[in-house]
């Protein structure tokens, strides 16, 4: 229950963050970059989408699905095993994608985006929670 509460909280933070980035992109405004100044460079780079879907929309969808699955697991909507497996697979894929995007910022784009890093840390924290809850 505690791990699900944490997963839900983190996914809600992720939703609010991606909604902010999507809104800024739609109105063509620069997002506030609280730390550093590389947000614009990273968000406008050629790596800002996968095929034709912008990364912020993919992130939003991932966070929404994770929060819904966490809610299903709390309410104990059947089949619980399936939801448990699905949330682990989703967070694993999202963690790998976050590693790739962080590497791209570090070595290829050579600029850091606060919001992208915050999203990556949110996803990795979810992964740590999943691992910790499996061990404990």
């Amino acid at each position: 229950m505690t791990s699900l509460a944490l997963l839900f909280t983190l996914s809600a933070i992720g939703i609010s963050e991606t909604v902010y980035l999507i809104r800024k992109r739609i109105v063509s405004e620069k997002p506030v970059c609280p730390i550093g100044s590389g947000c614009e460079i990273v968000l406008a780079s050629k790596y800002n989408k996968i095929f034709i879907i912008p990364n912020d929309i993919l992130g939003l969808l991932a966070y929404i699905i994770i929060s819904i699955i966490a809610a299903f697991l709390v309410i104990e909507v059947a089949p619980i095993y399936f939801w448990g497996l699905l949330i682990k697979i989703l967070i694993s894929i999202a963690s790998i994608m976050s590693f790739i995007f962080t590497y791209l910022q570090w070595r290829v784009i050579r600029a850091w985006c606060f919001w992208c890093l915050m999203s990556a840390f949110t996803i990795w924290l979810m992964g740590i929670i999943i691992l910790a809850s499996a061990v404990i």
């Binding site: 509460a5 839900f8 909280t9 809600a12 933070i13 939703i15 609010s16 909604v19 902010y20 809104r23 929060s67 809610a71 709390v74 309410i75 104990e76």
Partner: protein
Amino acid sequence: MSKTSFHILRVGLAITFLWIGILIFKQPEAWGGYLQPWAAGLLPVPIGEAMIGTAILDIAIGVLLLFDSFVWLAALIGAVHLVIVLIVSGITDITVRDMGILAATIALMADSLPKNLIDKIKSPKEENY
């Protein structure tokens, strides 16, 4: 209220409303136990159904706050909802927590009211001329 503190309050309240809604969905009858007997007697529907309705309302408020849409309306409904909760649940050990959330929703509502609505509240008569 600064932009940053406003958004921290908005997201924090959104998570609170969403999580409470989910917990009520899990055990609606148990949450109905918080109602005072006089309040439970006033319900036109079974207590479980009434609590499911409350859960849906909580989740709707949380979604609006999280997506930064109609924040003032969501905060207003949230504040009214919390006043009703305080009335129908009576004074308990957790009343003080509800009062804190109520104060937070009022602060959020006050800070996010649309300008034209504020103007109407300030000078309602001028609108007629």
